[in-house]
Amino acid sequence: MASDPVGIAIHCAILLVLPPFFLGLIAKTKAFVAGRKGAPLLQPYFDLGKLVRKGMVYSDVASWIVRIAPVIILVAIVSAGLFLPLFGKAPIHFEGDIILFAYLLAVGRFWTLLAAWDVGSSFEGMGASREATFGALSELAFFLSLIVLVLTSHSTSLTEVFYWKLTHFGWQPVFLLLFVTLFLTLLAENSRMPVDDPTTHLELTMIHEVMILDYSGVDLGCILYGAGVKLFLFMALAVSLLWPPAAVWSGSAVALFFCKMCGMAVLIGIVESVTARVRLVKVPQLLIANFVIALFALLVAVSGRGI
C-alpha cells in the first residue's frame, strides 16, 4: 500500500472527476474536423447532471440483474482505476495486480452483457453477442500486450511496470508496437469509430450503444460515466507507454499528465474523424491483425532479451 495520502487523494480526484471531460474533448475534436462548432467541452457533465435528476423505468420482463448491473459495472471499472499509476505509485498495488486490472475490466463487460440479455430485447441480445465475440478477440491482444509489459519490466504489478524511468526504455520499437496495439484495443474496447460508431442511431449497426438501450435516469448516467472512466483508463495506459508517468505527484506533473491526456483525446478524435467504420464482418479481421501486432511485439521483446 502506498503511504502518501495526498497522492492517493489526487489520484482518486482525477480518476473520478476528469473522465467525462475527455469524452467532451473527443466530441469537440470530431466536430472541429467536420467543420461544426460542436457541443461545449463540459457537455458530458451536463448530461450526467440531467440524468441524475431523472427517474428510472424498468422493463416488465427484466429481473434484478438489470437493476444492480450499472452499479457493479461502475464499481468494477473505477476500482480497476485504483491499480493504474497516474503519478508514482497507484493507490493499491501488489505483485500480480496487472491481472486483476484486466479482469476488473472484464467484470464490467460481463455485467453489461448479462444485463443486456436480461431485458429480453432482441436488439440487445444481438449487441451482446457481438460484444462477446469482439471482446474475446480484443482481450487476446490486450493480454498479450500486458504480457509484453511484464516481460520487459520483470514485474507483474502495474505500478512497477510504469516505474520504468529507473529501468530503461524510451523510444524502443517494442513500445511503439505496443502503443499501436493498445490504441487499437482502446478503440475496440470503448466502441470507438473503426469498430463501432458511438453516435449511430441505427440499432442494427450498434454494438455498445444497443446494449444500454433499456437504461434510463441514474442507471444510464452510471453506464455513461463508467464508459468515460474506462476510456480514460485505456488512454492513460496507452499514453504511459510513450511517455512514462512522473515518479512523484506535483503541480507540474498533474498539468503534464493533463496535457498528455488531452493530446491523446485529440488523437482519438482525429482518428475517428478520418476513418470510416469497417463493416461488421471485417471487425474480427482488424482485431486479429491487432493480435498479430501484439504477438510481434512479444516476439521482439523476447528475442531482444535473448531468451
Partner: protein, 212 residues
C-alpha cells in the same frame, strides 16, 4: 534501423490482410522502401559506394519500377481488384502470426554474423520469406503470385545485405537479376494467360492437359 525492419514485416502482414490488389501493391512498394533504406542506416554507409549503390538501385527497382509495372498490368489486363484468396483473410492473418512465431523460433538456430545490422534481421527475414511463400500458396490470381514472389524476394534481400561486406558484387547482381527476370517472366505470363483465357486465375492452369 530496427524501425525499418519492423516496418518491412508489418507491410508483409498488410499484404496478407488487404482485400484489394491496389493496396497489396502499395504495401509491397512500401516494404521495398523500408528495405532499401536499411543499408543506408548503418554506420559509415554514406562513404561506402557499394551500400549507396545498393540502396539507390533497390529503391528505384523495388519502390518505383516494379509497383509501376504491376499497376500498369493491373490496368491493361483489366484485372478485378479483389484478391480472391483460397484461405480467408482472417485465417491468412492468423497463419501469418503462426509463421512469425516459427520464424523467431527458427532464428535461434542460425548463428549468422549480422554486423552491422541488428540481430533482429534474421527472424524478420525468415518471417518475410515465409509470408511470401504463404501468399504464393494462398492466393489464386497470377498477379498476387507476383506479389508473393516479391515479398519472398524482399526476405531474401534482407538475408543478402548482411553479406554485403564480404561479397558485394555477388549480392548486388543476385538481388537485381532474379528480381527483374522474375517480374518480366510473370508480366509476360499474366499477359498471355489473360489473352488466352480472358482471366488471370491460375487454378485454370491445373486443368491443362496434353492433347491426345
Amino acid at each position: 534501423m530496427e524501425w525499418l525492419l519492423i516496418g518491412a514485416l508489418l507491410m508483409a502482414f498488410a499484404t496478407l490482410g488487404s482485400a484489394r490488389l491496389g493496396s497489396c501493391i502499395r504495401a509491397v512498394a512500401l516494404q521495398g522502401a523500408c528495405l532499401s533504406l536499411a543499408p543506408l542506416c548503418t554506420v559509415g554507409a554514406l562513404a561506402d559506394p557499394h551500400r549507396l549503390f545498393l540502396a539507390t538501385a533497390s529503391f528505384l527497382i523495388k519502390t518505383v519500377a516494379i509497383p509501376a509495372l504491376l499497376f500498369k498490368s493491373l490496368r491493361q489486363a483489366k484485372i478485378q481488384q479483389a484478391v480472391a484468396p483460397t484461405i480467408s483473410l482472417h485465417l491468412s492473418l492468423l497463419g501469418g502470426g503462426g509463421l512469425l512465431v516459427g520464424a523467431f523460433l527458427a532464428a535461434g538456430n542460425f548463428s549468422l554474423p549480422t554486423d552491422p545490422y541488428p540481430p533482429l534481421i534474421v527472424p524478420v527475414a525468415l518471417a518475410i520469406i515465409a509470408v511470401g511463400f504463404f501468399l504464393l500458396i494462398a492466393r489464386t490470381k497470377a498477379i498476387t503470385q507476383v506479389i508473393g514472389f516479391l515479398v519472398l524476394e524482399n526476405g531474401v534481400f534482407l538475408f543478402g545485405i548482411t553479406l554485403l561486406g564480404e561479397f558485394p558484387l555477388t549480392v548486388e547482381l543476385g538481388v537485381f537479376l532474379d528480381l527483374l527476370v522474375g517480374v518480366f517472366v510473370m508480366g509476360i505470363m499474366i499477359h498471355h494467360i489473360n489473352r488466352t483465357f480472358d482471366h488471370v486465375d491460375t487454378k485454370a492452369l491445373t486443368a491443362l492437359k496434353d492433347s491426345e
